[in-house]
Structure formats: C-alpha cells, structure tokens
Amino acid sequence: MVLNVIRKFNWAINTLTSLFSTNVIFKVGICELPFHPISSEVVGGVGGTCVIRGCVPKKILVYGATFGPEIQDSREYGWQVSENVDFDWKKLLQKKTEEIVRLNGVYKRLLSNAGVKLFEGEGRIVGPNEVEVIQLDGTKLSYTAKHILIATGSRAQRPDIPGQELGITSDEALSLDELPKRVVILGGGYIAVEFASIWRGMGSTVNLCFRRELPLRGFDDEMRALVARNLEGRGIILHPQTTLTQLVKTEDGIKVTTDHGEELMADAVLFATGRIPNSKRLNLQAVGVEVDKTGAVKVDEFSRTNVPSVWAIGDVTNRMNLTPVALMEGTLFAKTVFGNEPSKPDYSNIPCAVFCIPPLSVVGLSEEQAIEQADGDILVFTSGFNPMKNSISGRQEKTLMKLIVSAETDKVLGASMCGPDAAEIMQIKVKVWCVRPRLGS
C-alpha cells in the first residue's frame, strides 16, 4: 500500500516528465511547509495529510489496535497466551513516526527525481501568474508561473465551547505521548469512529458522543446500525443525540459535560467534528479566486478556478475528500493543462472504506439513495452471517453484505459490506455497470 501511494504520486509526476520527451519542457515548482506530524499555520510536510497525519498513520494504529482482540480470539483456537499482554503505545508511535518520516523522504526524492523544484515555506498567491514563498528565515521569494495549482488540503476543526483548548484533534491524537486510558470522542464521522475503535482495541475506555441517532451520516442506514452495534459489542459506550457543552481541567483529568447534563472523565477529549479547507492564508482575495462559505476553493469540472491561470485540487476544493480522488484530480489536471488532453475527474461509483473494527466499505448508492434516485423498483439483497473465524473464537459479531440492484435493468447500483477485510473486498469493480446475471454466474 505504501509503495502504491508513492507510485501513484510518482505516476502523476511521471506524466509530467514523460512530456519532457516530446521536446517540450515544463518547469514545475512546488512549495510546502516544513515537516511536522501536527499541522498548523506554519508546519505541514511533503506527503500531506494522507501520509503524515491521515490514512497512513491511521492504518498503522488500526493494525496496532486490531492485535488486541485478535490475541483474545486466539485462545479458543488453542493458543495459550499469558494473562498479561502488554501494549506499549510509545513504541507503536515511535515506529509510526519513523515510517512517516521515511515516507516524507521518499516523497521528496520522488519530486526531485521528476525534476520538480521543491521550496520549503509558506506559499501565497500574489497575482494570477505570481506566487510568493515565505521561507523559514522570513525571506520572501517571488516566482512567476503560467499556471498555479492550489492543493493545500484541509485541517481539523474545533467546536467553540468553553474549555475547547483542552481537547485535541486527530493530528494530536496521532502523536500523543501516552495512551489515554479514558477517552471521550465528539463526532459521528469516520474519523470519530475509527479513533473509537483504535483506542478501544488498545484497552482504553471510550465514550463516543454524536449528534444523530447513528454515526456515519450519509452511509447506508442498515450499515450504520450494524457499525453502531459492533462498536458497542466491542465495549465502546455510545452516546447518540449528544453533544458536549464544556470541558474543565481537574486533578483527575478532564471533566466533560454533555448537553444531557452527564459528566464524563477523560484523559483525552478528541474533537472529530469535521475538517475545513485550508485556504485562509493563501491571499486568494487579492487575486479574486472565489471560495464558498466553508472556504473551499470553487472549481469547474476541470479543476479550474474562476481565475483562468489558477487551479485547485484535493481537499481544499472539498469535492470528495479521499486520497485516491485527489490523485485522480491531480493526474487529470496534469493531463488537461500539460498533456493537451482535457480530462474531467469522474466521481461516480468511487469506493471508500471506514477503518473501524471491523471495517465498513461501500461503493455506489446506499439503499436510501437508490430509493430516491433510481427509476422504478429496486431489489435489495443482503447476507448477514457470523464469519467462520468467529465460530471457533466465539466472538458474537455478524458480517453484513448488501447489494442494491435495479429491478428494471438488473444493474448493480450499490454494494456495501461491514466485516473483516471489507475494504480489500470492496475494490470490486462496480465502476462499470455490470449486469447482475454475470454476478450470479
């Protein structure tokens, strides 16, 4: 997977470099803040959110957390494991940091191998064809460019409640010094749910508070309900239709108050209440690049902003905030602008996964979306079963798989799965409409 991410990035770079062979040389410069695991106005790092404080470290922590329950399950398979199984958070985080530092180095080499000039510092737009880079020592460098690409991503939000400075976001969560023994998480999205599973797998007490009845709004309702059941089955305490009103520091930790008046004690409080585009300091207004009310840079189907020489891709445009989608947008931008092949990213049937334990993965329409959007009747096929591995381990945790099919055309409109290995399984190609009789052959 790691190599794959790099290779995909590499391919985007290679697309540019392959153009060199056609006797047209494109000069590319890129600027990025200096590396740090926790992002801020002044630090970031080559590789970005995915590599440094998102997908990669998250998956490492999920792997780490999964071992705990697996060790429990091994006993019914005949394994005699000592009662005391220790988990060393510091060791895991140290290895995580080594890995993201290594990847950061790999990304830098990818850029230099492709002949892309890397500037370290904060970039801002000065004119439609001019960029300014403020280096670490404060000196400003100016560059002109035929095209400017904004790919500054997004940052975690904090709620505006008393004591919010006592809480952390996912950036800090991925770099804590100690394993928090008691955790309160505010949020119902994939980040909240993933961190709940991570810390619970490592043995912490986890309270998950979210505004709606179920977590993971936007996903298939039946799947959301199963994810909630699974989280509870693993010992996570759910607080639906709940938000936090204040945090207070005490001797015993952080005292968290909910809007139901309940008080919870925590060693860490994670705010996973959303991420917003990172466009404030780019000086966009000086050039007239339009943003929406969340700060997302507005772009057309080719990722071009309202200023013809300025483009934007990835989380800063807030379209579909997934790494493979950003890679697609970046690749097609390069093709459009430098490959003479105008290409629009296609957002249909993009699979994605939530790495709670066990994970959820979906592609295409949920049942609710299909009811709304499909012409005519739909058929819903489900299969719920206790996976074979659990039959011996005794774990009571059902897997659910679901297909949504158009009754008229027999096309598979959507597929989802919640269970072990769901993410690996759902890379299934629903991108091209497959007629269902093939599925049943």
Partner: protein, 556 residues
C-alpha cells in the same frame, strides 16, 4: 423428460407509485429467480417471466425415456431424483430440485471425520474434511505470525504463546458437528428425504441402500473423491489429509509429500503451529498449473517462514524406526526423524463399489464419471456432479454444477455449468488468489499480451519488520485490452480476488480497471493503479508461433 409447465405467474413490478421498492431478504445462496420458458429439447428458450415467489409444489408425471422403454406406459417412481452423496454438489442439486417441486431423496454414509468405504457424513468433503476444517486450522496457525507481527506494533508477552492442539481439535470437531446438523436441517427444510447408508446403483432407475431398494426417475451420483496414496513400501505408516485434520497430537517434525494446494496449505498450517516442516515435491516448483511467478513467490515466502523444501524428489519408501519415528526415502536419499509422514499426492474419484460398471456408466482411466455438458452420464437417467466427475474440483463449482442440474431437470431450463473465469484460492501462508489465465496459458491463447506486476512490502510489514511481501499480476490481451488473468499472493488475496473475478468474468478491460478509483489504504487498490507493463509479449509480429524469437525481441 420434463413436461411443459402451464402455471402463469404475476409480474414483479406493479403500476404503483414511483417510489415503490420491493425488498426481499434473500440470502445470497438462496436466490430463486427462475425463468420458465416452454421447454423444447432442441431449441433455446423463447419467452419467459421473471419471478421471485417460490413455485407451487408440482408432481412430475413422467414419460419414460424412449431409449430405455420404447414408448411404454408412463411409470411412477418413488422419487423424481435420488442422489447418492450429500456433499456440496449433491445437497445443492437435491435442495434446489425440491424447491422446484421435485420429490427428492439423498443417501449418505454415517458421519465420521475420516472418510472410508463405510463412513462419510452429510456435508461431504468440503464441510467435514476439506475447506471448512482446513480454513479453521489455517486461522489457528496464522496467530503465531500475528504474535510476531504484533511486537512491531507495541505488543509484548510475558511468555511466548504456546499452542494446545487438543483444544483446537475439540473446538474444530464441535463446529463440524454443528455444521453437519445444519446441513441435515437444510435438507429436511427443503423436503428432501435423507437416508443414511451406502447407496449402490442396481439399474438405471433403482438404488440399493443397505438392502432397501428405491426407484427414481433420475439418479445423481455425487460421491466426491478421496485422497490417493501411492503403493510404496511403508505406505501404511503414511497419513492423508483426512487424518491430518484430526490427529490425536500435533506433529513435531512432519514430512509432507506433494506439491499441490493441499500439501502447501498443510505445510503452512503445521509450520504456523510450530512444527518443523519439510515438503518433498517431484517438480522444481510447487503448485503445478499455477502462474510460474506466483509459484516462485509463494515458495520463497514460505521458506522465509522456516519451511524446508526438497525439490525434484520422488518418494520411494517410508521406514519406521525402533523409536517410533519415521524416515522418508526418496530418489535423492533418506531423511530421518519425522513424527509424521503425510502424503498429499492427489485425490481420486470415489467410484468403486457403486454399481456403475454393471449399469453401464462410463468412467475415465482415473475412475471419474464421464459426463456431457449437462452433467449427464452415458446412461440417460443417471447424472453426476462434483469431484466424482473430476472437472474443476472446487466447492463453488460443485454448487454450480448441482444448481444447473436442478434447473435442467426440474425448471425446464437446460443449463450448462460455465467453467470460464472460475476464481480459486490456495490458503497457503501467504495465501494465493487467482482468476483467469496464467501467463503461460495466456501466451498460448493470445498472440500478444501485456504483463503488469507489482511486488511490494505491505504497510504492515514496514512496522513488523518481517519479510512479508505481496505479489500482484495482471495479464492483458494487447489486441483487445481485456484483462485475461489476475493473480495475487499475499495477505487477504482470496478476499481481494473475489471482487475482481466479477470483472474478469464480465470481460472488462485494463482501461476500465484503470478508471476505477482505489480504496485507500489497502493492498487491493494496487490492481487499479498498475500503469506500466512489466513486460510485453508479442508473437503475432513474427508471422507464426516462433515464441522464443518473439519473446527475445520483446525483451522478455
């Protein structure tokens, strides 16, 4: 054979509001979408209604086969279908036939973990002494690797985990009992009569089960296969896969003779459970018939886990020593000190003593029952599915063959099982998943192919520090851009390949693969991001099949 059916059925969709949905909770193995054409043996079906509802039970009044009865009066039989063997193929055919309204019986030997002339069990090889117990043992054995991996993720143990074989066997056997009970329920819920005993065919419409005679319009033979051990000196000391799945104690040092999937899976199992494992194969590589690069890769990964391979060695004798240990003598020498010697040297169809020769059912030289595309034997009223026909010996294929037969016989819809693009897996450690052609097969079938490969260290291994790697391969027909073969060896391969098998079966192209956005972070996403061919093989340019010249020119 079957009569025409005159029941009409309601259409599924009605003229109610636009937002009507029909929600039917099917299990994925129990769809009964059936098409009801008027049956004409020589023509394809013309018009049909689709329907979801279960058909009403029908009694089939038969016309006797003209070939055996010369236009005699219609005869009534005890059963429409009598199945010998309640394994994957037999249960599927019987159950679906009963769902279509047929009157069905199935006979099966009494349950035992080890099969013999007198023991078997409902569920068959897959459930009792194949796929299921095998997978449970693979799960059990994988934990040792997971304990090792977990160290890199911060986990530590006061003492090294040890394994108790007895606990595993007891829990495994409890699970098998539970499953055989479920299969019995499945049969009885479908209205299939289960008869315990050994079935033997007496004539084209009669089966003898332990002395009692039953007549049937159709007989299905689905008795599966059994392990084959060559007759060499000392073969009485050798265990087969049946016994290996139910040993009284764990091997300390085991010799596994064989290079197929069973040998390779058991090597991984015993190695994971901390036995010393030696694998003896006749060829240079394991897994003959699989893609050559995959064969090399899996052997390398297995060697890194401590399994020792002895290649190009053929077994000649097994000798028992005074201390109770065994030695294995091959053409290259003798290796001593084994607590167990296991032969995984093939399986043969279980066709002895069934009365087949007497009734005229033709067999091939291995004892497999010869069948046509509809699974019919040389005797018109006798059919065969599953391992006994030795076509593709996989449970889902037996299920397909059984389901197709039920449709042919009782749904008025002659159906040929389709053996193209059948995915399969080997649960070695690491496991293999594959669908479509190997590179060697693709070179033979297509003139020009492009081969894409990836060989990488997965994220987990960068932290565990273990030498685990993943190998993935796509084979594309250069002319049509169709993906004709897909192979993976590494963690989760079997799960990954299932989804891609749909794509291969649908004949999707490399461009369509590439247009699919990845799921991140996974290993599977590698399949949709392979940009540059590792090699291109061009045979068509050289005006004939001068393969080596063309390959050299292509830089292969």
């Amino acid at each position: 054979m079957a009569t025409s059916l005159t029941t009409t059925t309601p259409k599924l969709t009605s003229s109610l509001s636009q937002t009507l949905i029909s929600k039917h909770k099917f299990t994925l193995f129990n769809r009964s979408l059936s098409l009801l054409p008027s049956f004409n043996p020589s023509k394809q079906t013309l018009t049909y209604h689709t329907r979801i509802l279960k058909p009403p039970a029908r009694r089939y009044v038969t016309r006797a086969e003209s070939s055996t009865n010369g236009g005699a009066e219609p005869k009534s039989y005890d059963f429409d279908l009598f199945t010998i063997g309640a394994g994957s193929g037999g249960v599927r055919a019987s159950r679906f036939a009963a769902n279509f309204g047929a009157n069905v019986a199935v006979c099966e030997l009494p349950f035992a973990t080890i099969s013999s002339e007198t023991t078997g069990g409902v569920g068959g090889t897959c459930v009792l002494r194949g796929c299921v117990p095998k997978k449970l043992l693979v799960y059990a054995s994988k934990y040792s690797h997971e304990f090792e991996e977990s160290a890199g993720f911060g986990w530590s143990y006061n003492s090294e985990p040890t394994h108790d074989w007895g606990t595993l066997m007891a829990n495994k056997n409890a699970e098998l009992q539970r499953l055989t009970g479920i299969y019995k329920n499945i049969l009885s819920n479908a209205g299939v009569k289960l008869i315990e005993g050994r079935g033997k065919i007496v004539d084209p419409h009669t089966v003898n089960v332990d002395g009692k005679l039953y007549t049937a319009r159709n007989i299905l033979v689905s008795v599966g296969g059994r392990p084959f051990i060559p007759d060499i000196p000392g073969s009485e000391h050798v265990i087969d896969s049946d016994a290996a799945l139910d040993l009284p104690s764990k091997p300390t040092k085991i010799a596994i003779v064989g290079g197929g999937y069973i040998a390779v899976e058991f090597a991984g199992i015993f190695n994971g459970l901390q036995s010393e494992v030696h694998v003896f194969i006749r060829q240079k590589q394991v897994l003959r018939g699989f893609d050559d690069e995959v064969r090399d890769f899996v052997a390398e990964q297995m060697s890194l886990k401590g399994i020792e391979f002895h290649t190009e060695e053929s077994p000649q004798a097994v000798i028992k020593s005074a201390d109770g240990s065994f030695s294995l003598k091959t053409n290259k020498g003798t290796t001593e000190g084994f607590s167990h010697v296991m032969f995984a040297t093939g399986r043969k169809p279980n066709t002895k003593n069934l009365g087949l020769e007497t009734v005229g059912v033709k067999l091939d030289k291995n004892g497999a029952i010869l069948v046509d595309e509809y699974s019919r034997t040389s005797v018109p009223s006798i059919w065969a599915v599953g391992d006994v026909t030795d076509r593709m010996n996989l449970t889902p294929v037996a299920l397909m063959e059984g389901g197709a037969l039920a449709k042919t016989l009782f749904a008025n819809e002659p159906t040929k099982p389709d053996f193209s693009a059948v995915p399969s897996a080997v649960f070695s450690q690491p496991p293999i998943g594959q669908v479509g052609l190997s590179e060697q097969q693709a070179i033979e079938a297509y003139d020009d192919i492009d081969v894409y490969t990836a060989n990488f260290r997965p994220l987990k291994a960068t932290l565990s520090g273990l030498p685990d790697r993943v190998f993935m391969k796509l084979i594309v027909s250069a002319k049509t851009d169709q993906v004709v073969g897909l192979h993976m060896c590494g963690e989760d391969s079997a799960e990954v390949v299932q989804g891609f098998a749909v794509a291969i079966k649908a004949g999707l192209t490399k461009a369509q693969f590439d247009s699919t956005v990845g799921v991140h972070p996974t290993s599977a996403e590698e399949f949709v991001t392979m940009r540059t061919p590792t090699r291109k093989i061009r045979n068509s340019s050289s005006g004939g099949k001068t393969d080596s010249e063309a390959k050299a020119a292509a830089g292969v």
